[in-house]
Point group: C2
Chain length 443, copies 2
């Protein structure tokens, strides 16, 4: 394992808070961001919440000479808001839209319309293949009663799946973005434990920035302090994560965040702080063969596996809570719809009375009749749409839960020391449906 080459990569990540006409000083801030990026010439720039393509095109023009390569990931109604600028040619891109992302009727939260996703770009740095990911997860509006928690857990689950499955051919993985999760939150642990990604704030040799690496701070003039309660000083929810491979080592030489203000300016770049990490990649000349790689896989530490089983089990519990809520909501929608239908039927019966019993007076004033009928139809339409929506939500939650159950089964199998199912005598075990508890004592 000899270092033959050492490459330094400077990575930048920022949630730009770029809602045109709503975010404060939006054009001015984009101008500031563009100037700073043009000056700093980072290798890789990962931006979130660039909601308007016009703003992306503005930055693209401004950064044309220092970042000739860029990509804007499109998704949902106004999203995904994700953009990447690079000094190095982007060879390939891929977008994964999270299957769950809030509710369309929660329009004031707006996440659903953003079409949250994870974008991937494949670059080459020297001879190394680098997979770069940029993402933005569903916001947390109320930590005590976080109704979006199951959605965010499923997003974290899908994020780790996407990164794990698409990065097998990469020498280096770099992930940047606004995860909307604190460092020890379940989704964050799930992501790190399953992918082996390391947190640049934790790993860095040198740090310059806000206390505890916070990226949403009370000192930022765009932040309302009461939103941060009970974390008066701020929270850390933006990250630059990284990992190498069996052929490449990676280190974080330095890491920094902005501190709520920009020198000589009256306001900062965004309501989030910007992150910068300087990573050093060391290339190895691999001496191992394919079978070594396999045996290495089998050697993966039992302790870590057990921890991973616990984390996935915890995530599964959270998804089950979400499933229960979604079932309740769907049931409520169905019941309301049936009540609307019954009301419509009742109205028609009452209205039919004068025709059936000749001489009886029309019991309804016409205005009320039509208003009530319109109301019934509106109820039917809205509840039908909600029923379809909740069914889709249920399917996604069930899908994630199934995958988690299967993953736990496979991880436990590994823990028990049966890493690979033999080809001609597959272990005759009960199907995954009859899974064992994650807390069953290990053999």
């Amino acid at each position: 394992m000899v270092n033959t080459e050492s490459i330094s990569v400077r990575v930048f990540s920022l949630n730009c808070w770029g809602i045109r006409y709503l975010s404060k000083y939006c054009p001015e801030r984009y101008a500031m961001i563009g100037e700073m990026l043009a000056k700093e010439e980072y290798d890789i720039v990962l931006l979130q919440e660039v909601w308007s393509e016009k703003d992306y095109l503005y930055l693209k023009k401004k950064l044309a000479s220092c970042h000739p390569h860029s990509h804007y990931f499109k998704s949902g109604v106004i999203g995904s808001g994700l953009a990447i600028f690079s000094k190095h040619r982007i060879h390939d891109t891929f977008l994964y839209r999270y299957s769950l992302n809030g509710y369309p009727y929660m329009a004031h939260h707006g996440d659903w319309f953003g079409g949250k996703a994870v974008g991937m770009a494949v670059l080459n740095l020297g001879s190394l293949t680098v997979n770069v990911y940029v993402t933005h997860l569903h916001a947390e509006y109320c930590r005590e009663k976080d109704s979006y928690l199951p959605h965010r857990i499923v997003q974290a689950w899908e994020l780790q799946q996407f990164i794990r499955h698409t990065s097998a051919g990469a020498d280096v993985v770099i992930v940047g973005g606004d995860l909307n999760m604190h460092p020890q939150d379940l989704g964050n642990r799930l992501l790190r434990a399953y992918t082996g990604l390391r947190d640049s704030y934790v790993e860095t040799a040198k740090f310059d920035g806000c206390e505890n690496g916070m990226t949403l701070i009370a000192d930022n003039p765009f932040i309302s302090k009461k939103e941060l309660v009970p974390f008066e000083k701020g929270i850390r929810i933006d990250y630059i994560l990284f990992k190498g491979s069996s052929e490449t080592d990676i280190y974080c030489d330095s890491m920094s965040t902005t501190k709520g203000s920009v020198p000589d300016r009256s306001f900062p770049y965004s309501d989030h702080e910007a992150l910068t990490a300087e990573l050093r990649l060391g290339v190895h000349i691999p001496t191992e063969t394919g079978s070594d790689r396999q045996s290495k896989k089998e050697d993966s530490a039992t302790g870590k596996l057990a921890e991973l089983v616990d984390i996935v089990t915890e995530a599964r519990t959270e998804v089950k809570v979400g499933l229960h809520c979604a079932e309740m909501m769907r049931y409520t929608a169905a019941r309301t719809g049936i009540m609307g239908l019954a009301l419509l039927f009742l109205e028609l019966v009452i209205a039919a009375v004068p025709y059936l019993a000749l001489g009886a007076e029309q019991p309804f004033p016409r205005t009320s009749f039509y208003l009530l009928a319109a109301l019934c139809f509106a109820i039917l339409l809205v509840t039908s749409l909600l029923y379809i929506f909740y069914t889709m939500e249920l399917k996604s939650l069930q899908g994630a839960e199934d995958q988690m159950r299967l993953a736990i089964g496979s991880l436990q199998e590994k823990l028990r020391g049966f890493p690979l199912a033999g080809l001609h005598n597959p272990p005759r075990r009960p199907p995954e449906g009859q899974q064992r508890s994650a807390f069953e004592p290990e053999e």
Copy 2:
């Protein structure tokens, strides 16, 4: 390159046509399918259109002893309809939902509600990692005027992206499913050229089945012959595709399809024919190192690259046609919505006349007034929903087009002989936005 081991894998794929209460003889056919699968004991069974989870659970129970491992992929309102049964433990699963899949208001076609997707399962056969994919693309209802073509092209694009990016760590890739594309259709060529997947029907040493490998045939009693026009005898739209890796060879020893009937039964398994492929995997002891792998990449045949550029360019043109249509539809929705609003406004003005000009008679009969108002509201609601839907469709089409443009740029770069952008002197080229024509003469 020495064959140390030879593993035989039998793969089965069938579109089950499993719409409860609508598909003919649904329970009887599932019973037949279950019996046949239990008897044949294929290694891997890939099913599509298992729309009801109950039917999946029925098969799971029936196949518990021969296929102890299985997974049902959930997506959309009633989908995805994809299921996998395996003799070998499934270590991991992942689902990718296509960003486009028809229109919800085309309820009689139903594809939108199916939540079409591609499901992946990771298995181990001996020491080999096998990535198995099962998918079902949007149906083609009218070949002459196929309004779903751009959606299917985007699905084929996303399918190739998903397979390519998730299979880097796999020794063997097996894809089965109903692609709803003829062998030489654009999407099919795109998939095969980009991923290097090979068609078992074309590659097989021995074939037993319908003429030309057809999987939707006129002789099938569930098929209406006029649906097949102008292909009187039938079409080939179901496939088992495969590829090995630099460390593993794969061959198709034999391939077969059912022929529209099942011995001793009065009807076949489905309206599609079932496919079976017997694949042989040869494991190699790799002698190459990482840098060899890199140089191999660079050696990829120029001819194939040029062909790929042409195919992606053709796909991009098709997506642009779709973009144009989606823009038109969105414009129509917006215009209709504005007309609804204008009508409502006009009605309110007319109704206000008697209040403003005292003594004037109410010009509206009440009934008409309320009916018209309800109509206006309905128009506004429906056009708003359509506008949101078409915006999402546009974003997805634009996203795919952007990715294709970027891919063409990168492929052309390779063709020109600049395979890798140097680290410290990235080529100062115009940003991707100002891309060159794919037909520009190569240097």
